[in-house]
């Protein structure tokens, strides 16, 4: 079974691709090399993102023989900067698709790539300086919070009590939580507690245990992430209070989507923030090198409510996430 593919995708093929395409972005007969730099699979969402990246690269290579991909995964900011420098120096890339580990430190290395005349696609986390990237592909964190909040507003009575689990303290998390709060404004829903579960199952489990000891009545939980939703469910099962409250997670983990499909009353819906957004970025970037399709600009992938009716289109049983 093939698991890590940064070696396999890095195979250097210098055989001339005999394609008759005449394109502005590449000289005839030369393969276009697309460098892909993403964080390594440290948690569920990134694991899914890595899987989708590898899967898409495999498909694109089969479809377009004149495209070559270099995939590097980094566990830390410094490593990602090194990866990008190496790609430019040794692999002579024509385009860079990058999901920055952090915005600030990656801004100038990515700008250097752009200044060298390469195509730059930035995914999910924006750079701290505007106008560097040719293409920006991202999920919509504000919509993620808003869609979740609207569901709570529509399905809870005024005076209902909810608890919230937040992610790792970041701008991304703040955007989601702020949008959620605005969406439930005026609904009379009371947020009893809001603590960080760090998008981690174990942490979410113990935070939820504490919520359950502290609050006698909870009507619903915004777990804001599917990994955290799993930990929350386990803590609720331990206390035997399954009938009392429902949970809304987020992202689109296959186990959770399956429950939504099966109409589990505890997990009525999920909110999408698909790790497959890396596939969108890769596909669209590839289009630039194989066709004359204009692809510069911004591509924002909406967050939608996943219900029992539409769950099937968000269900990827082969993905690890």
């Amino acid at each position: 079974m093939e698991r890590r593919t940064f070696l396999t995708t890095a195979a250097i093929g210098t055989a001339a691709a005999a394609t008759g395409l005449s394109l502005p972005a590449m000289a005839q007969g030369k393969k276009a090399v697309i460098g892909v730099s993403i964080p390594s699979a440290t948690h569920g969402f990134m694991g899914g993102l890595n899987w989708h990246a590898q899967d898409t690269i495999k498909r694109l290579k089969a479809t377009y023989p004149n495209l070559e991909f270099v995939l590097a995964t980094a566990g830390a900011v410094g490593k990602q900067v090194n990866d990008i420098e190496d790609m430019v120096a040794t692999r002579n890339i024509d385009a860079l698709v990058v999901l920055p580990f952090e915005s600030e430190p990656l801004t100038s290395p990515v700008k250097a790539v752009k200044d060298a005349g390469k195509w730059v696609t930035v995914v999910d986390r924006g750079l701290s300086q505007a106008g560097i990237e040719d293409l920006y592909v991202a999920g919509d964190n504000t919509a993620f919070g808003r869609v979740s909040g609207e569901y709570f507003k529509a399905n809870l009575k005024p005076g209902a009590k909810i608890v919230v689990l937040r992610g790792i303290p970041t701008t991304l998390d703040n955007e989601r939580v702020d949008a959620f709060k605005i969406a439930i404004e005026g609904s009379g829903i009371e947020i009893l507690d809001m603590q960080h579960g760090n998008w981690n199952r174990d942490k979410a489990f113990s935070v939820m245990q504490d919520y359950l000891s502290k609050h006698k009545k909870i009507d619903a939980v915004w777990a804001a992430d599917d990994d955290m939703a799993i930990g929350v469910m386990e803590a609720i099962a331990q206390s035997g209070r399954q009938k009392e409250m429902w949970i809304v997670g987020g992202a689109g983990m296959k186990q959770i989507i399956k429950r939504v499909m099966d109409k589990d009353p505890q997990i009525p819906v999920d909110v999408s923030y698909p790790p497959a957004l890396i596939s969108t970025a890769l596909e669209v970037t590839a289009l630039n090198f194989v066709s004359a399709t204009p692809v510069y600009g911004r591509f924002i992938i909406g967050s939608t409510l996943i219900t029992a009716e539409n769950a099937a289109q968000f269900y990827f049983p082969d993905s690890p996430f």
Binding site: G44, D193, H196, R201, P320
Partner: protein, 345 residues
Amino acid sequence: MSDSTRSDSTRADLARADTARPSLAARLPGLSALGPLLALILLVALGAYLNENFLSAGNVTNVLARSAFIGMIAVGMTFVITSGGLDLSVGSMAAFIAGVMILAMNALLPSMGVGVPLILAGMGIALGAGLLAGLGNGLLVTKARIEPFIVTLGTMGIFRSLVTWLADGGTISLDFGVRQLYRPVYYSGLFGIAWPILVFAVVAIAGQVAMRHTRFGRYCEAIGSNDKVALYSAVNVERIRLMTYVLLGLLVGLATIMYVPRLGSASGSTGMLWELEAIAAVIIGGTALKGGYGRVWGTVIGVLILSLIDNILILADLVSPYLNGTIQGVIIVLAVVLQRSKSSA
């Protein structure tokens, strides 16, 4: 030699240079020993004052059961640190063992079926994997003579990336049917006390006895104090050191056995930073980081202090959640200061 380690260790340590000191002080429990206990009592009082549910049976069970994983590991860590070693790999090791255990149980499922033998096989695999992992660390430290910090920093990265690889970047989940059968190992118990708490209690008591009343414990302190002197006193230094790492590996395996039934899964983020929590608990409890003196019951108190801080912060809503880390840090430092200043008085 620092004052804080003198009172308790003189009686135990035959290899120490200054064993001729008067043993009167050694008979009484050192005042320094009460520091962490005092901190624990203060925390419990604070928790009870802030929230009436703090002392409820449910909350006490939650906190103790949660402490059990780090607790068992920290007891093993006490021996490693006492004999002058260190193990940074335990968190990753726990994640790796959990991954191997779940994959093995899923693989054995078709041939063995859902039943107690399958669970026992999984437990055996976890202990075996723990033993091998500990043996690996121990051999690299004793035979290859590499600094424990470097060896275990290396194995920490190895175990962490192996579990991520096994999980294909995602999560390894135990088969649903097996999970239902295995679940009570974390969630139920004997006489109303949850299994993880019982197992932790047994490990802690056995650890305390081993440290204070066996040759193994005395040798650990002797080696940590001065390994040359221990060697000249006919102590098999390498073998004892190796044994501490193997013991720790086994205890990580045991902790994993109690951990897996909780969520039934393992991923690259399982056991994150457990090594630092375990080391912090050992030091809060009064064991010297440079080795030579170990206090197992202190370690247990250290573990309880760490999980209580977390619990109280969530129950009480005292500060912005952004500041939880600050409060934790302050209390950890205070607990150690309390112990140091008492000892010099």
